[in-house]
Symmetry: C2
Subunit: 339 residues, 2 copies
C-alpha cells in the first residue's frame, strides 16, 4: 500500500513507482494481444483490457495498476462518436455553441459498462497491495480533441473557440466536468482506489486562460470526488508555468512533467501541500545504464527532499520503442533506494 500511503502523505516502507502508459506497445506481450485486436476493441473487452493492465505489474512489480483505457472512452457514452486513427478522431467536431448541446450526461452503467467490468476483474486479480488507479481526461484536454477533431501540435481551433465563444466553451467544459466526475465516481465504486485526471494539453494555456476556463472545471471534478476518500491525482502536463494557479486544487498528488525539478514544482505549489509524482525524462530510458542510473538517482534525491512525499514516475508516457529491460532497471533501482 505504499502508493496510497505516499499519495496521502503518510510514511512508506519503500518508494512507490508506476509508469504512465505502463501497459503499452513497448511490451512484446502487449503487442501480441494488439496483433489480434484493434485498440478500441481492446479498451472495450474487459478480459483483454484487464490482461494488458496486469502485464506490467507481473513483469516489473509496480506499486499501482492503472486501468488500461483511453481518455476519450467515456465520451462515447456522452453523445460523441469517437474513432481511432493512430489517435482519437472525431468525425463531426464541435465548432459552435449549438454543437455543445451534443455533449450529454454520462450514465456509466449504460455508457461504459466494459470499463467498470474491467475494474471488477482487476480488483479480483490484483493482490491487495497493488491498487487500481482509475482515470479520466481533464475537460480542456478532452475539448481539444472535440473541437480540433484529432491530435495537433497546438490545437489552434480549440484555443480560438475559447476566444470566439467563451460562454459556449465554458458550457462544454462544465458538461465534460460533470461527465468525468460521474465517470470517476463510478470507477471508485467498482474498486479503483485512486483517481487520476490527465490534463495532457493544459500547457497550451497561459495563466489567465487557465484560471478562467480550466481550473474551475478541474476543481469541480476534484471537489465532487473528495467525499469518496480516495486519493486524487492531477497531472497538468507541460504546465510548469501554471503551478502557482494549480496550487489549491482539491488533489492529493500533482504529477510533474520532466521539464522542471520536483523541488521547484513543490515550491510553486505551496511547499508540502501535495505529494508529487514524476518526473524522469522518458528519453533517458534510451541512455547507457550508468547515465540512466544517475538520472534516476537525481529524481530520487529530488523526491527525498519533498516535504510531503514522492511517487516515482516518468515525466510523460513511456515511448513505444523503449527497451523493457531499461524500465526494469529503473523500477528495481527505485525500489532498492533508501526512503
Amino acid at each position: 500500500m505504499n502508493f496510497l500511503a505516499a499519495a496521502r502523505g503518510e510514511t512508506v516502507e519503500r518508494r512507490p513507482v508506476w509508469i504512465m502508459r505502463q501497459a503499452g506497445r513497448y511490451l512484446p506481450e502487449y503487442r501480441a494481444i494488439r496483433e489480434k485486436v484493434e485498440f478500441l476493441e481492446l479498451t472495450r473487452t474487459p478480459e483483454l483490457a484487464a490482461e494488458v493492465t496486469l502485464q506490467p505489474i507481473r513483469r516489473f512489480g509496480m506499486d499501482a495498476a492503472i486501468l488500461f483505457s483511453d481518455i476519450m472512452t467515456p465520451l462515447e457514452g456522452m453523445g460523441i462518436d469517437v474513432a481511432f486513427r493512430g489517435g482519437p478522431w472525431i468525425e463531426d467536431p464541435i465548432r459552435s455553441a449549438g454543437d455543445v448541446e451534443r455533449i450529454t450526461p454520462l450514465d456509466p452503467d449504460a455508457g461504459v459498462p466494459f470499463v467498470l467490468e474491467t475494474i471488477d476483474r482487476l480488483v479480483e486479480a490484483l493482490p491487495h497491495e497493488v491498487p487500481v488507479i482509475g482515470f479520466a481526461g481533464a475537460p480542456f484536454t478532452l475539448l481539444c480533441y472535440l473541437v480540433d477533431g484529432h491530435g495537433t501540435k497546438s490545437f489552434v481551433r480549440t484555443r480560438a473557440f475559447l476566444r470566439e465563444e467563451p460562454a459556449a466553451a465554458r458550457e462544454a467544459l462544465n458538461r465534460l466536468a460533470e461527465g468525468m466526475a460521474t465517470y470517476l465516481a463510478a470507477q471508485a465504486r467498482h474498486g479503483a482506489r485512486a483517481l487520476m485526471l490527465f490534463d495532457s494539453w493544459v500547457g497550451l494555456l497561459d495563466r489567465p486562460t487557465f484560471r478562467e476556463f480550466e481550473r474551475p472545471a478541474v476543481e469541480h471534478i476534484l471537489s465532487s470526488l473528495r467525499e469518496l476518500d480516495v486519493p486524487l491525482l492531477y497531472f497538468p502536463n507541460q504546465g510548469g508555468h501554471l503551478l502557482q494557479e494549480v496550487a489549491g486544487v482539491s488533489a492529493d498528488v500533482i504529477g510533474v512533467d520532466w521539464r522542471i525539478p520536483l523541488t521547484e514544482a513543490d515550491r510553486l505549489l505551496g511547499s508540502g501541500r501535495y505529494t508529487l509524482q514524476g518526473n524522469l525524462d522518458p528519453s533517458l530510458l534510451f541512455a547507457p545504464g550508468e547515465t540512466l542510473d544517475a538520472a534516476v538517482d537525481r529524481v530520487i534525491a529530488e523526491g527525498s527532499a519533498l516535504p510531503r512525499g514522492h511517487i516515482f514516475n516518468l515525466g510523460h508516457g513511456i515511448d513505444r520503442s523503449t527497451d523493457p529491460d531499461a524500465l526494469a532497471r529503473v523500477v528495481d533501482r527505485v525500489h532498492a533506494a533508501k526512503v
Copy 2:
C-alpha cells in the same frame, strides 16, 4: 528604425511591431500566389519570395520585414534532401553517428543563392526605415526534423538520439551551428539588418539537457555573429523553464512565447539584459474586438515595464485562419500606444 533601436535598447518614437509568420496563408494575396506555386518553389524564387515578404508590410505597415523562407532551406546546401509535405519531410533521416557525416558545411553562394537574391531584392524594395530580418533555425530544432524526419508532438527519436549517441548528437549540433552561422552572416552581408534564431522545439528539453547540448550550439552561432554589429534575436519557444539558462547568451533580443508574462521573463533572464519580443497569444486574434484590445493593452503595459525595451509580436506564429483585419487592429493599436 524603431525596430533596430528597440533591439539595441535605445529610445524609440513608437513601439515597433512585427508578427511571426506575417507573410503567410492568412493573407488572401499570399494565397493567390500559392495557388500558382508550391511552397518550396516559392522559397526558391526570389521575385516571389520578395513579393510575399512585402505583402504584410504594404497592408499593415510593420516595422520590420522578415525574409520569407523556411528554417530547413539552408540544409539543402548542406547535403540533406528536404521535401515538404505540409511541413518539412526528410526521406532519409539521421539515425546514427555515421549519418551525421552527411551534414556538410554550407557555401551560401552555391547552396542558397535564391535566399541571398531575395534579400537583395528586399533591400532595394523596402524603405530605409523597414529593415529586413534574416533568420535561421537553431541547431536542436533543425536536428529534430533531421532525426525524427518530420514534425511530431514530442520528437521522441531526437531526444532518444541525444541519450543513445551523445557524442554524435553534439557533432551534429556543431555542424548545424557552423552552417547556420555561415548562413546568417551571408544574409547580413546581403543587407539583413537583424538576425533571428528560431528554436521552435527547445521547450522539449529540461535545463541540464539544454545546458549540455543546445546552449553551446546556440552561443556558438550568436557569438560568431557579434562582430557584424547587427542585432541578434533568439526565440526559445515554449522555453519559459529554460530562461535562467538562456540568460547570458550573446543576443540583443529574446523572444518570449505567450505562456509567461514579459516581466517574469525579464526577471528570469537577468533584468534589463535583453530587449524582449512578444507575446500576445495568437488565439486572441479570434476574440471580439474589445477582448482583443484589452489583451493587446496588457502586453503593451508589460512591455512598458521592461527596463530595456519591447518589440511587440505574437507569442507564436499567426494562425492561417486569422482574419487579417484583426491583425490590422493589433498593429494600429500598438503604433497608437504611448511609448
